[in-house]
Symmetry: C2
Subunit: 358 residues, 2 copies
């Protein structure tokens, strides 16, 4: 049977993405628009966290309630400071560009800054932005354009080893944890590569596949393409997406889980969150208990890899006093039998110990 | 938060599809190409089964091993017989058009027949076909083009009631069962609509959303759009896709399950099949036991609709003697506590009885 591709469902790619290298012109001005919470500013905050050396400043519009800790700059100041690109630092669920931002982005393009977007919509579809870029010669870079030839997933076994971060919700640290695990692995001399599946991860890594904009028939095929066969000791550390229990995005999570065929999984969880982020305005969905999430993921992971196992839990305890954090870690460790860490405060060494120790 | 759309990920639609009515010019010549098994000929066979009155003939190429029971016709004979459209009757996993078919389709277009395709690739992307259609004025109709504005799923409760067919595999009768259930409901005076999610269903119903080519972030949103709020007694009978246990397509199945928010589910199963159809050439995946499939679907269905329940199992017993069929039905009924029917031999009355009787 011939392999099919999603070639005809992609818009025109502004830049080569997919498994090819994305080249962003540094330094960056991070654009936060009118974002009100850190969860939806994760693109900008993640880029600042992992590529601080490339971030010159931030531009915050009216109503913005997020501070990335960079110097505030106007577009003129950014130009004077030698900024190369304005990067949209806000990730809304669906990736639209609100009208309020268009003026700012057009002004930046007119001033010669490249515009980098991880939104679902394409920059070139906003005539004000496109005309401004054309006038100055600035480039419009859409990170969220998947590669043009993705096969249907086969479920066939590939050589090499894979770790996938999964979550009890969106925006619970799946990308951060994967990046921290890759860093820890490399520090120990392990052969490891972070595999980005979302716009921020792709901006940080310079490569990856934006899974949430792959045509759905090719989801697991995209995950297979993202982490191809490798040498037996090589680890792909794959950035998870969404959550199997999130009614808006679980399809993406399951396609990724099946295609990744993980040998090891790490669950990411925000203990301060009682209800899912971003699902139904009029309806609340409780976050599943950690142990239930683990069981759910394992059932599906073992369908494609009978050896799949969890090796740790990563929690976000930024809002907790130290004593409360210790009690929580203790509780989750008893519940799951796994090492539980806050990757920001504790690092991920205990998870890698578990991965290697068994 | 503003609703996002997948507007920018669709190709140019040759015809209005989505929730608008698709108009196909009858009668049809069903094109079977070189297909070797009925599973992959389900588009053509389904159209013949449910719209026999619109099907004038079939065109089978070299190596074709499927017979739809229609008169064999060449393209010249079809033109002489007043055929309006050639309909590609073959559904490959990914929806590609092999080179061997291009000549036939171009010849049909040149002879003035409209060409109807449910493939992922667009007809207009094959220059031979496009030029032939342009010369004769024939139309190229791509059924598998989703609507241009799909929101992210919200998980919010909608009025009206919904039944979803799910499966232990691809091609186990989910569309057939849904159509048979709609027919039975209407025969009883119930207010019911079949909701098509795949190319054949859309061809039969004249409306629907091709879920497998929706951008994955919008999967559950597409399912919500497909079965909008309705009057309290109205039933949407939604055609399922794939299987939660199929490593190639489970993402689509889960997005549909979450977006459909079914009140009632019917499991479709082929007892003669030990391994999944169409997964990994080099690897076999066992079909899950019926009761395990039911449990798996219920877990996810109840996430969005706590009242979700199974009301029946539909099995394909075409290959079995009557005695064996009776034993099998008995076994599954004891295993599941549900009415088990072969919709082709038995109809679906017992499932509707269960639906209404509790």
């Amino acid at each position: 049977m011939s392999l099919a591709t999603n070639e005809d469902f992609q818009g025109v790619a502004s830049i080569p993405t997919g498994l090819r290298t994305v080249q962003l012109k540094a330094p960056y001005l991070i654009y936060f628009g009118d974002v009100r919470d850190k969860g939806h500013a994760k693109t900008g905050l993640g880029l600042i966290q992992w590529r601080r050396e490339h971030c010159a400043g931030q531009l915050r519009g009216q109503g913005c309630q997020v501070d990335g800790g960079l110097p505030d700059m106007t577009i003129s100041q950014a130009v004077a400071a030698g900024v190369g690109s304005i990067v949209i630092g806000v990730a809304s669920e669906g990736g639209t560009i609100p009208k309020a931002w268009i003026n700012d982005l057009a002004q930046a393009a007119r001033a010669g800054l490249n515009v980098v977007s991880g939104m679902h919509v394409r920059l070139a579809d906003f005539p004000e932005i496109q005309l401004a870029a054309r006038a100055s010669g600035a480039r419009l870079l859409d990170i969220r354009t998947p590669p043009r030839s993705i096969p249907v997933g086969t479920g066939e076994k590939r050589s090499g080893r894979r770790l996938l971060t999964v979550g009890t919700d969106c925006a619970v640290g799946k990308k951060y944890t994967a990046l921290a695990l890759e860093r820890e692995m490399r520090a120990r001399g392990m052969d490891a590569d972070f595999r980005a599946t979302g716009q921020t991860g792709i901006m940080i890594a310079g490569t990856g596949i934006p899974l949430d904009c792959v045509v759905s028939d090719f989801l697991s095929g995209a995950a297979e393409l993202l982490s191809p066969a490798a040498s037996p000791d090589h680890w792909d550390v794959i950035e998870g997406q969404g959550s199997l229990s999130h009614p808006s995005f679980a399809g993406v999570s399951l396609g990724l889980l099946h295609g990744a065929q993980p040998d090891a999984l790490v669950l990411c969880h925000d203990p301060s969150r009682d209800y899912l982020l971003g699902a139904g305005a009029g309806r609340k969905f409780p976050v599943l208990p950690v142990s239930e999430s683990i069981e759910q993921c394992l059932t599906f992971a073992r369908r494609v890899n009978p050896e799949a196992r969890f090796v740790g839990v990563a929690i976000n305890t930024s809002a907790l006093p130290d004593d409360d954090k210790a009690a929580l870690v203790d509780r989750y460790e008893r519940e799951t039998g796994l090492p539980v860490v806050d990757p920001i405060k504790d690092g991920t060494a205990r998870i890698i110990d578990r991965l290697l120790g068994e």
